[in-house]
Amino acid sequence: MGLGRYITARVAWAAAVAFIIVSLTFLLLALSPNPQVQQAATQAALQGDNPQEAREQARQLRGLDKPIHVRYIDYVVGIFTLNWGWSTMRSQPVTEAILSSLYYTAQYSIPWTILTVTIGPIVGLYSSANKYSWRDHAATGFAFFGFSIPNFFFGIILLLVFGIWLEWVPVIYNTNVAVFSLENARQLILPVFVLVTGSIGGIMRVSRNESSEYMNADFVKTARAKGVSPLRAYALHILRPTMVPLSTTMVGQLLLLFAGSSLLVEVVFSIPGLGRVLFESVIAQDTSLVLGTTLVFVFVGVIGNLLQDITYTVLDPRIGYEDR
């Protein structure tokens, strides 16, 4: 089986996983009480009407009276045709609500991801090339600090110092500034810094330890004996094999942070992004929106793992893709 077929198989598998998750969420949704139906019944009871009748009416209005397999098919078709339902909290289609919040999430997520992915491995490599020097110790200290400190707490402290005491950055997030403007850079610098600090530590450590293993490898000696420059030896002969295990850590870390910490960071920095929409829709019991935002995180996770599997095989030719 060639690499092309392996990738096709992986993509098909990822689609199957996504489908299973979509089905499971439907099941959870079908089993949970619908707050709007509940509300209609309560209201009817308060007004002296028949709550049972009102409940039926509300169910009918939302198509909940149809048999479960019909609802399932409607739901799945809706998911894949991007008809994700209506958000009562935002009074707009769920897809629209998600797209508009994704716009804000992307503005800080893309920078911190790029920074972490590029700086992390390089600093780790540098650390391992200069093991036990003061720079290595400084990098290790920074890595453990970033790894240990809770992101939301670090965000609050930074906001207090740089937003309130020093007044270098705005405290309130302004949605009206242009994406590529100094203003936007100023209000996003702290969340980006917090997230890079939180994510880069693990990557630096893994990169340092993995590349240490290759620093004295025979093949690096071969490269030097061939007359290859030290920079090339580091960048190709050491970094490349280091990236194999590192790519696993990297995807895991980034996904964890994207799904978990970005929510907290968005709340702290009042960014109306995906994490905060999820948080608010849970509070407001806006089921369709909860489901929609959850699905976005799910798809990001599935795609992340897919990319990881593929990079893994591309980076290390020894990893076979037969019989998988």
């Binding site: 025979d218 071969t222 004996a225 007359g227 290859v228 290390d316």
Partner: protein, 347 residues
Amino acid sequence: MSGRPLLEVENLRTTFRTDAGELVAVDGVGFTVEKGETVCIVGESGSGKTVATESVTRLVDTPPGTIKGTARLNGRDLLSMSDDELRSVRGNNIAHIFQNPQEAMNHCFSVGWQIVEALQAHQDVPDDEARARAVELLDRVGIANASARFDDYPHEFSGGQKQRVMIAMALVGNPDLLIADEPTTALDVTVQAQILRLLDDLQEEYGMGILLVTHDLGVVAEVADRIVVMYAGKVMERGGVFDIFERPAHPYTQALMRCLPNKGEETDGIPGRLPDPTDLPDGCRFAPRCEHAVGECEIGDQPEMVELTRDHEVSCVYYQQGYDSAVVRDESLEAEGSAGDAGVSDD
């Protein structure tokens, strides 16, 4: 041969900084390699053979290592030249092959890519031409179906094939000197013979000098022109292959010879062990294990080299004036035929 030798190593001293103090791996070693000849460095594991050869092209990491002395290739001192100059020598004038072909290539890149990398490190060759050269070399070293195997990865080759690829990689610069560090130790016996024969053929074809590190005296007898016997970082004896095999002068060389399966009865090795390289003994390094050692052997420095015959030198007090060298001569070793069949299995 007239003029200066291809490689001339003098007073090479390589030390390492360790927690236990200064570790002296190579201590004042000297030898020469002439154009087109094979010089073998022999000695038991830990005697500093590998460090000595890797010091020549400064492959030893500095720090923690420190390399002193001179190593002149065609008159240019490799140990005092700049890193950039040295880089243009490595892989170009001097090529290395190493002991363990399993680990010597990067598992992330195809073998062809790695040969091309070696070529393009020194010559401005376009990719397609470099590929053609690499295929040609792979073919030369006996990789069947070379152009198809260019894109294969190291793990798709057997140990012997990998060593062949390493040899192909070493040949890209048409080197003057090939340093081969135990190139057959990790291979099985039938493959060993093939690799040695290949090296022998290529030496003739390319006119390279070969500096071969080994502890396998069978290999030495087969390929060496001259031999350097090392022990604990010092040269014990130097000489032509016939001198060393037929008239081993130093007690250590004799002890090595007695370890050959068909020489004498003693095959259970040399009693004792190598001295601690951070705390080396005074006098002759071998004295603590030497059956002939006298008081003189354990004071001062390693005895001066004494020339026995032309090109046969030994570092042992018994060959100095006032001593009777007959004491250390081992008649049983000398009585046994020529070097040609000393310990060499017919393969």
